[in-house]
Symmetry: C2
Subunit: 444 residues, 2 copies
């Protein structure tokens, strides 16, 4: 493994050529180890951004990222192991619902999660709003917990895909975040480093997502499926709507409370619908049942309380207060200031700038601008209507949970100015635009 001059790798990509598997591997692993300087890697990333990556290059890059660190496998689990990841959205708590729901249906879920950044929330931040709950769980403890309660959500560690962490930081600093193949390599390297029987991915598209058009989301989904296929792993990838917040809560404690209510069958809506869809998409191939039967089992697990019990078992296993399942709003931290958001106009809700709602919530303290910033679990925004709903002037459309009065006023005003109302009736938005899978890579 001698790389004469890593600049020659950059030159190949710069000139529109194809980087060999060996050169890509040496470059990526060398960068992860600190042997390739930042400036050379940055010029490489910009060349990748502007020239794109072939399927072979993308697989080489992803494989090198996976091999830059440890991989995780769970040998002692007799259920099918599924993993689930979202590219990030606003009020996107599907994972919080999906994980215990899938466990209640007889699947095993061993999931590594990250923290939120920018306008999107992170599963770890949400879970840690539950008093006492810990996410720093070793691989051995993860395996034991899955064997005992069927599911675990743990924090990504520094030993898994270290090259991705280094590369993500550099992409952010060198204006190369938005490249679709680079995003695919980043997302999939983390999924492929954990051995599971099925990877479920939710590629979000719309005003609250990183992918703003269905075309770019479809391209990302196709790349992710391609990478799973390159690893001979099963993957099912949804392109789902993020043109408006998925659920109603945008915060951390608020998100958990909503997820608990969905799991208890007390709250209908798009968040629960999407979690059920994912659970059914996982259960059908993994349990060898048909799709309709899988959907019914998911509904049943919510209706009979077994999904909520699976959450209780997971929370308890991770040191959290299990009463969060019985009385979420009693157990979770609460913000001192609450302010109703009152519509100053009437009309049919036509547009929601979901990213702006995410940023307004982050500005309250629910999110972080930079990695490592602290967050406030109690604050956030609740926004009830969905696109197509009729709103009257003076109607309460949501609530701000804030630390201070002036924060609350500002957030309420931001929410109202992020809405587009129409005099004409507006159609509701689809929930899922389509699926790509290793069985059907072209997608539907």
């Amino acid at each position: 493994m001698t790389l004469t001059d890593p600049r020659s790798v950059v030159e190949v990509k710069r000139d529109g050529g194809v980087v060999s598997d060996e050169d890509m591997r040496d470059f990526v692993i060398g960068f992860g180890r600190g042997d390739i300087p930042d400036y050379l890697a940055a010029s490489f990333l910009m060349a990748c951004y502007l020239r794109g990556l072939s399927s072979a290059e993308l697989l080489s890059m992803t494989r090198a990222m996976v091999d830059s660190g440890e991989t995780l496998s769970f040998s002692g689990i007799d259920r099918p192991v599924v993993d689930k990841h979202s590219t990030g959205g606003v009020s996107d708590s599907v994972t919080l619902v999906f994980v215990p729901l899938a466990a209640a249906m007889g699947l095993a879920v061993a999931k590594l999660s990250g923290r939120g950044l920018g306008h999107t929330g992170g599963t770890l931040d949400k879970l840690e709003a539950i008093p006492g709950l810990r996410t720093d769980i070793s691989p051995g403890a993860m395996e034991r917990q899955v064997r005992r309660v069927g599911c675990v959500v743990a924090a990504q560690t520094d030993t898994i895909v270290p090259a991705d962490r280094a590369m993500y930081a550099l992409r952010d600093a060198s204006a190369t975040v938005g490249s679709i193949p680079l995003i695919a390599a980043s997302v999939m390297s983390k999924k492929l480093a954990v051995l599971s029987d099925l990877v479920l991915l939710d590629v979000k598209v719309g005003s609250g997502a990183f992918m703003k058009t269905p075309e770019s989301a479809g391209e990302l989904a196709a790349h992710c499926v391609e990478l799973a296929a390159g690893y001979e792993r099963q993957a099912r990838v949804a392109v789902s709507d993020m043109s408006q917040p998925l659920g109603e809560s945008i915060g951390n404690a608020l998100d958990v409370a909503e997820a608990v209510e969905v799991l208890r069958g007390e709250r209908a809506g798009r968040l629960g619908d999407l979690a059920v869809i994912f659970a059914a998409e996982a259960a059908a191939p993994m349990l060898g049942i048909d799709r309709a039967e899988a959907g019914e089992r998911a509904e049943r697990a919510i209706g009979d309380g077994s999904a909520a019990e699976a959450l209780r078992a997971m929370v308890e296993a991770q040191g959290g207060d299990p009463r969060v399942v019985d009385d979420p709003r009693g157990v979770l931290p609460k913000a001192p200031v609450r302010r109703f958001i009152i519509s100053d106009r009437a009309g049919f809700l036509e547009r929601v700038d979901a990213e702006e709602l995410g940023r307004a919530s982050a500005a309250l303290g629910a999110g972080r601008r930079r990695k490592g910033d602290p967050i406030d679990p109690a604050v956030g925004i609740v926004f009830d209507p969905k696109v197509g709903h009729r709103i009257e002037k003076g109607q309460q459309v949501g609530q701000v949970h804030a630390r201070r009065e002036d924060d609350a006023d500002r957030a309420a005003a931001r929410v109202l100015s992020a809405l587009g109302l129409s005099d004409e009736p507006v159609e509701e938005l689809p929930l899922v635009h389509g699926w790509h899978s290793t069985d059907d890579p072209a997608g539907t």
Copy 2:
């Protein structure tokens, strides 16, 4: 001058937009000062490489580079001041001949030069082969010397165009050296930072040059003229042949000896021809005489000894041994080992890999692989034939001047393997492909 986020400048270029004058200025000057990190500048340079630069952006970048440091002007000189630069070639000692020749013709030449790198020689290295000669000359001393003897060649200092030095190092390290607009900005920033009445540029093209095709050389020449025009300065830019060594010597002392012989009128050939062309191209507009008359004056200055005397005056003024003009091969350092290069084939010389000859000479010690490496002034290669010449088997085609026997053997073998011979007669190569000038930007 507040730049909110320099990443936005990179994003504009990345997405094919046009960077504003102010943003370009802040970015380049910020980089030169160390405020913009290397990795962000590297990704910017790669975006510039792949997206190109508009005329306005190129002027903004160059202006910012010039303004990153001091500028030099010579107010007390009553002759027209001309500056001359070559993009670098093999056996390219035009500057050594041109500078005293132009001075002998009544022009003033105040030139800052650099050292050689890679396969091309540098004027400073060559001059410093003359015992005692110094090139660390302050701006005030440069001006005094020009007033007294008509010409000076001094070392580029750290205070002139510091952003170019930083950017060149980063381009080299990030595989973005070959971008034509970036080369134009680098070359012209150094010329525009010195106030002269005329800039003469020699853009080399061919196997021994950085520009390998006449198209890319023409593009570089056009950009350079455009930049001079943007500064309302006069420039004349030649695209000249570097498909074979220009002169016969490839070394430092060897180059000086050849240049002295040309200035004394003892040696005809392409090196002297090109120096005379440049001197005439400078004299005609600057002295207000026609081109034919200017050419005759140049030939006369060589024939009557005044050009050689101008060299003697310059060498003496810079502390060098003036006898180099009378007996160059007696005064200059000599290598202990000499080896004839004997052709092992017969035919018409069709191709010379001039870069390979440059590298073979550098490997003897005449050049440096990295900035700061020491060089050996005595060693080098002499190669006599030109493309089109007939070579017989067993004919002596040149000579290696080396420190050691095995070095000499290796260099002689490299020279022979860099030649392409043909059984059919071969045409000689043109010397100058064309000119671009601020009077005629489209070129001829």
